[in-house]
Structures are given as C-alpha cells and as structure tokens.
C-alpha cells in the first residue's frame, strides 16, 4: 500500500508536470518518422523490423525512464522520500510507475508499428504477448535501478544509456529474436529456451535490484 501511495504521488506529479510523458511521446514520434523517411517505399525484411522495433523501445526508455529518480535528485526531494519511506517502498513505488509507463509506451509503439510497417505482422500472438510482457518488466526493472544509480552522478544524460546498454543487451537481443519468431510464426514450444532466458533475466534483475537498492539510496 505504501508503494502504491508513492506510485499515486508520482502519477499525480507526472500529470501536472508531464516531464516523462512529453519526452517519451516526442521521441517515439521522431524515431518512427525518421525510420519511415529513411526506408521510403522499400519493404524492409522481418529481421530488420524486429530489430528496429526494439531500437525504438530501447531509446524511448532511455529518454523517459530515468525520470523516476533523476527528478527527485534534481528537485532536492530525494531527502524528503528518505524521511518518509523505507528504501524498499521507494524502489517498489518507482518500479510500479516505470512498469506502467513502459507498458503504455510500448503499447503505443506496437500499435504504430502495426499501422505503419507492412512487415510488422504478428503471426504468433501469444508468443509476441509473452515477449512483450516479460521484456517490458525486464526493461522497467533495469531502467529503474540504473536510474537510481545515475541520479547521484554529474552527467546523468550521457551516463544513462551508456550504463544501460550492457545491462539491457541480453534482454534486447533475446527479445529481438523472440519478436522475429512471433512475426515468422514460430511455435511457442520452439521458442521456450529464449522465453526462459527473458524470464530468468527478470528474476535476476528484480532480486539484484532489491538487494542493491539500500546501498544506492543511502549516501
């Protein structure tokens, strides 16, 4: 309940300031427009479609998800949070907010892709849905803990994608492969190994994030 209250506070703050939503929306529109302009009338193959789909997701996440902690540090309200909530509550609240944001963002990206890219036709929807859910959770967890780390650093803007890239690489690569399989129509059973990788990634990141957050949050 405490984490949910923190999530409500963040959501209310976001609706007032539109700090993350505006930057995410602008990035999604610009990135998809650039891809559409660059491919012109060409029909891109499925490999490239799946890769570009996750490129847009990765960089959109980089442009908006750091907000969870960076805005608290920049406004000096991180101390306020330390004085009213335990570290695990703060992390849970921020994680819920980022999960909601990632799901909303990626739903919009998926719908735009489906509408604008001929080659983005999902033949195995359950596989795509599983990839979408597990991939989003992994992305939200990793982005949240990295945001907590970089929030105290000087050059946050540069550090965030640089630090996120190696940590998110296993997730992105596996998710690209699973997205390609769902476009190809590969069966669920044939993709079970990759699904297990993404599920394990999520479990490892959630465990590591909760174990490390105490140390990151205090001085």
């Amino acid at each position: 309940m405490k984490a949910y209250a923190l999530f409500r506070k963040d959501l209310h703050s976001e609706l007032r300031t539109r700090y993350a939503v505006n930057s995410l929306a602008m990035f999604i529109i610009v990135a998809i427009s650039v891809i559409l302009f660059s491919i012109g009338q060409e029909k891109i193959n499925e490999n490239l479609t799946a890769g570009l789909f996750w490129v847009v997701i990765f960089f959109s996440a980089m442009s908006g998800l750091a907000r969870a902690f960076v805005s608290e540090e920049e406004r000096g309200t991180a101390l306020t949070l330390q004085l009213i909530a335990a570290p695990s509550t703060v992390f849970s609240g921020k994680l819920i907010f980022n999960i909601v944001l990632v799901f909303a963002m990626n739903t919009i990206i998926s719908l735009l892709y489906a509408a604008l890219f001929e080659s983005f036709v999902i033949k195995n929807f359950p596989l795509f849905f599983t990839t979408f859910v597990l991939g989003n959770i992994g992305l939200a967890v990793s982005s949240t803990i990295i945001a907590a780390i970089i929030a105290k650093a000087g050059s946050k803007g540069t550090l965030y994608p640089v630090l996120s890239f190696p940590i998110l690489l296993p997730l992105i690569l596996t998710s690209v492969s699973l997205t390609l399989s769902s476009i190809d129509g590969t069966s669920f059973a044939e993709s079970i190994f990759e699904i297990a990788i993404v599920a394990c990634y999520d479990v490892i990141m959630i465990s590591a994030a909760y174990m490390l957050f105490d140390f990151i949050w205090k001085d």
């Binding site: 209250a5 506070k9 209310h12 101390l79 306020t80 330390q82 004085l83 335990a86 205090k218």
Partner: protein
C-alpha cells in the same frame, strides 16, 4: 509517556581523507532540547543526517530505542521529524496535497485536526490549497515544520530551523520547539544564539575533531 533514546557509540565520519569528527559519544533520552554547534563546514548537518538515518557513519553506530525496543532502520522514519534548508517539498502540489501524500506513503491516517492546528500555528491555513511553487521561502520553511510534526514524532531534528523566517515565523517555531521539548527529544543544529538559548545542553562538534587530521 513513551520513552525514546538516541545513543551514539564511537561515531566517526570522514569524507575520503578529510575527517569530520571522531570518537563522538552521546545519549539523548526521553525529552529535552539539545543543541549541536560548530562553525560552517564543521559537520553539523552530516551528524544530524547520520542521526536521522539518511547517511551512514564511517565507524561507530547510532542506536534508536523506543520503549526499550531497538528501532530497525526500515521503521526509523516513522519516529523522526526533520527540518532543514536542504529539504524540499513538491512544488507542483499544494501544501495539503504534500501533507496528504506524506501520510499515505507513511501509511498513517491523515490526522486532520493536528494538520489544521499546525497550519494555523504556522499561519498557512489560508494558503493550504495553493501550490507550493507560489510560496515564499519563509512559507516553505514553515510548511517543512508542519511536514516534520504532523505524525507526532518522538525525535525532532532541526537544522538551522529559523533560516528564512520572519519574526512571527520565529516566534511560532520557538513556541513549538518549547512545547515539543517537554515530551520529545528536539535536536537543533545551529549557530544562532536565539536558537541555542532554548537548549538544555549543547554539543560542540569542534571538540570531536582529530588534531592529527591535517597530517594525514
């Protein structure tokens, strides 16, 4: 009346090679107003952040006890009220929203009577539904006192409590400090003579500097 105590055992803090204080021991218990003094940069704010559990000591420990039971760090925030110039509330929310969200996050039912009493005491009742970004620095400082006192904490930590306050604001603060000091522990980190005049005893942080620090 519940009993609360804060005990420091051989507290030591250094930033890299720079020693802030060493071998610091104290015991504040039950009630009273205690001062922490020292020149700028001597480590007053660092010490009170360590006491509040938002910073960690390099060596030694702080023990908080309530009714003889040791308080675990995860629960410590429920017993502490904190005011300082480097504490900020959410500018995009009104005073009431800030206090309401604070209660929700603490999972404590908002004590409307208490909050309204404090809003009146600190002359903010008529502005309670205005965004904090429209407040002057003195009004923000007064709101911090309401934020710190609304959950009736047993340990009230005040870092430069009267900064940015006008005479009426200072009067409200001194009145509240004296009231709270009768039942709770109030720690004041300040160099203001008027602030320190309220204290039952003071701790001079300069007395805990290692004389060899410049030779490290």
């Amino acid at each position: 009346m519940s009993s609360y105590s804060v005990v420091a055992e051989n507290l030591n803090k250094s930033f890299g090679r720079r020693l802030i204080f060493t071998n610091l021991n104290f015991n504040f218990s039950d009630n009273g107003i205690f001062g922490i003094t020292g020149p700028n940069g001597s480590g007053k704010s660092t010490l009170i952040k360590i006491i509040a559990g938002v910073n960690t000591a390099t060596h030694g420990k702080i023990i908080h006890q309530h009714d003889g039971q040791k308080i675990v760090p995860e629960k410590l925030h429920n017993y502490i009220g904190f005011v300082s110039p480097y504490l900020f509330l959410y500018d995009e929310f009104t005073a009431w929203e800030n206090l309401s969200y604070t209660s929700d996050i603490r999972e404590i039912k908002l004590n409307i009577e208490r909050v309204e009493y404090l809003l009146n005491e600190f002359l903010l009742y008529n502005r309670r539904n205005d965004d904090v970004k429209t407040y002057s620095s003195g009004m923000k400082q007064r709101l911090k006192f309401i934020f710190a006192l609304m959950h009736q904490p047993q340990l009230i930590i005040l870092d430069e409590p009267t900064s940015n306050l006008d005479d009426s604001g200072k009067e409200s603060v001194y009145k509240i400090i004296e009231e709270e000091g009768k039942e709770n522990i109030v720690l004041i980190a300040s160099n203001e003579k008027q602030d320190l005049a309220l204290c039952n005893s003071t701790l001079a942080i300069e007395d805990y500097k290692n004389q060899t620090e410049n030779r490290i």
